[in-house]
Amino acid sequence: MSLYIDIPESKAKLPSPKSDRGRLSWISSVDHKQIGIMYILMALLFFIIGGVEAMFIRAQLALPENYIISPEVYSQIFTMHGTTMIFLALMPVLLGLGVYFIPLMIGANDMAFPRMNAFSFWITFFGGLLLYFSFFAGGAPNAGWFNYAPLSETPYSPDVGIDYYTVGLMLTGIGSISTAANFAVTVLTMRVKGMKMTMLPLFVWMSFINAFLILGALPLLNAGLAMLLIDRQLDALFFLPSAGGSATLWQHFFWSFGHPEVYILILPAFGIISEVIPVYSRKPIFGYAFVAVSSIAIALLSFGVWMHHMFAVGYTNIVNGFFGAASFLIAVPTGVKVINWVGTMYKGSIRFTTSMLFALMFLINFTIGGLSGVSFAIVPVDWQLTDTYYVVAHLHYVFLGGTVFAAFAGIYYWFPKMSGRQLSEKIGKWHLWTFVTGFNMTFLVQHLLGILGMPRRVYTYFDLPYWTILNIISSAGAMLMFGGVAVFLWNIYRTLKKQPAAKGDPWDAWTLEWATQSPPGQKNFDKLPPVHSRRPLWDLKNPHNKDKRLN
């Protein structure tokens, strides 16, 4: 056995999972492309499970005084919906795209630590399985995805669900941390000759910044989880106010992780959008330096805004004012990025592929989510609207209208690269319009529900004026969205059944991942073009109109 993993020299294809041997080679793979694909498949699996849970929630809430599922089961379902979507669907899809594309985009043949890469994926995956095993072990976690103590403590949640929550999330957290460290080392040490840090494709740059966010934020969650687990298993008293513990300390740990987590889920999405819009507008990103530097600002500020989740806890005006100010500030670098993307389209030659349309929908829907987010920095408005459906609407505009739209844009953009086949544009547009319409139906009206006074996480409600009709619209929209996902799955299924036929570079793109065949063989690159600018393939394709040389 060698201590070092050799880069495969063969240009042979990745093994097919259709044979036993092929499957085994996937399970035991340390190849970043295979691990990336497995990450994305894992995300898809849990996205569907989380979606089914969402359908249960919307079915229960469709009508007032409805009892399709009991309040006890409802608590488990919405807890698992949130936890699944954030930790097992959104993070894996973003990390998976990173694992697949970071080495390709910087001209490397693998990650810096291939074995640790595999470890990260599997521990995340098994963390997810463990979380779901709780359903069979006596009940899923039921204290919400932010799992506030002391509700999550033994006296109020005696079932094992919360224990599975702590252990499951610690495992996925360790996986995320090791992937993040792997990203950081890969980007720092494995770039192709000539590619300076200031020349990274923006998706790589965002994932790189994101790695530091993960390295800083996840341990804070892990520490909180460890204390909670010690409380529950060894009868310690951290979060038990009746015995001298603190009820709010958990909230500080959770949100000092939880708010960076929001940016962990959105920064790579910004990266995807910053790759997709330029290619389909046939123009470089407008203001690369600003997009790149503002992400650093976001990363730093994101550790100083967590208490805007806690304005109603009863702190003084000075504390609340400080965190309100930080929350206003972080809106600036986030918001002005939108201008960069719109500016990229200016005087372009725009191709309306499904991927580009998702990016455009991202622009508008993420703006809505971002703006409604700013309303929480206005502390008195937060006092009124926090923990209502207004928040539910806001966070879904950020996570779905932001992260998921961007992930779809990325998948439609990179699918030919990963599989050698192009997803059907026609079906793709059906997917797009059903999903986007359903999404806006579901969540736009929830802003109103929140303003009308509907608290979040209620399992049912009285028929107060407008409540029923708004909830019916919301549930109908959710069904439409679910249909949209079904169309997406159908699109993937029928595309994968076809023979690989896509051109190596169907979008005529400019970053290095397109400088090899699609899909790449076991070895990523034979020969790389010279890298002198942020768009090496542009320079290659337009020898008379090269970008400014940066090295």
Partner: protein, 183 residues
């Protein structure tokens, strides 16, 4: 390019630092709201903790010496210093074990009060990191014998970074847990 392992170790250490910051914050938070100061004066043996601290700091230096000697090709001295590190680490763990047993006899446990909860969690997680470091150093030590002889400077450098980190964390723990309550 060469020192990928060391770079990785730095990132993981940085991440672990956040973990310990959270634990220390919890400890300080509870100390400020409960009578933990009295607890320290009554139950903790600060003198022994000071000796153990000195030992742990010393073990960092012996590891540095080991690396220096290895760089100069003095295998025997390198191994000797490394063995010293292992012994010092083991002494530290033994001391911590003694402390736990004493506290147990004085009926200070993790479930007794928030001081117990945060004290045992903080020192326990640190102890866990010492154990992991001890295992890593022992592995390196073992590799340096017989036909393996794969003791490399890069290997020591990574473990060394980790070991210094464990040391620095302990200095913080020592300051916050044993010293500041008495000031």
């Amino acid at each position: 390019m060469k020192d990928r392992g060391r770079l990785l170790m730095f990132f993981l250490i940085g991440s672990e630092a956040f973990f310990f910051i959270a634990l220390i914050i919890a400890y300080v938070y509870y100390r400020n709201f409960t009578g933990a100061t009295d607890m320290v004066a009554h139950f903790l043996n600060v003198k022994r903790a000071t000796i153990l601290t000195a030992g742990l700091v010393l073990s960092s230096f012996t590891l540095i010496m080991s690396k220096r000697n290895l760089l100069k090709g003095r295998w025997k001295m390198a191994k000797l210093y490394m063995g010293g590190t292992i012994i010092l680490a083991a002494v530290f763990l033994g001391g911590q074990m003694m402390e736990y047993i004493e506290l147990y006899h004085k009926q200070v446990t993790i479930s007794k009060n928030v001081f117990g909860s945060s004290f045992f969690t903080l020192t326990g997680f640190h102890g866990l990191h010492v154990i992991m470091g001890l295992i890593a150093i022992s592995l390196l030590f073992g590799f340096s014998f017989g036909k393996f002889k794969v003791l490399t400077v890069a290997g020591i450098a990574s473990v060394e970074a980790y070991w210094h980190f464990v040391d620095i964390i302990w200095l913080c723990v020592y300051t916050y847990v044993y010293i500041t309550p008495l000031l």
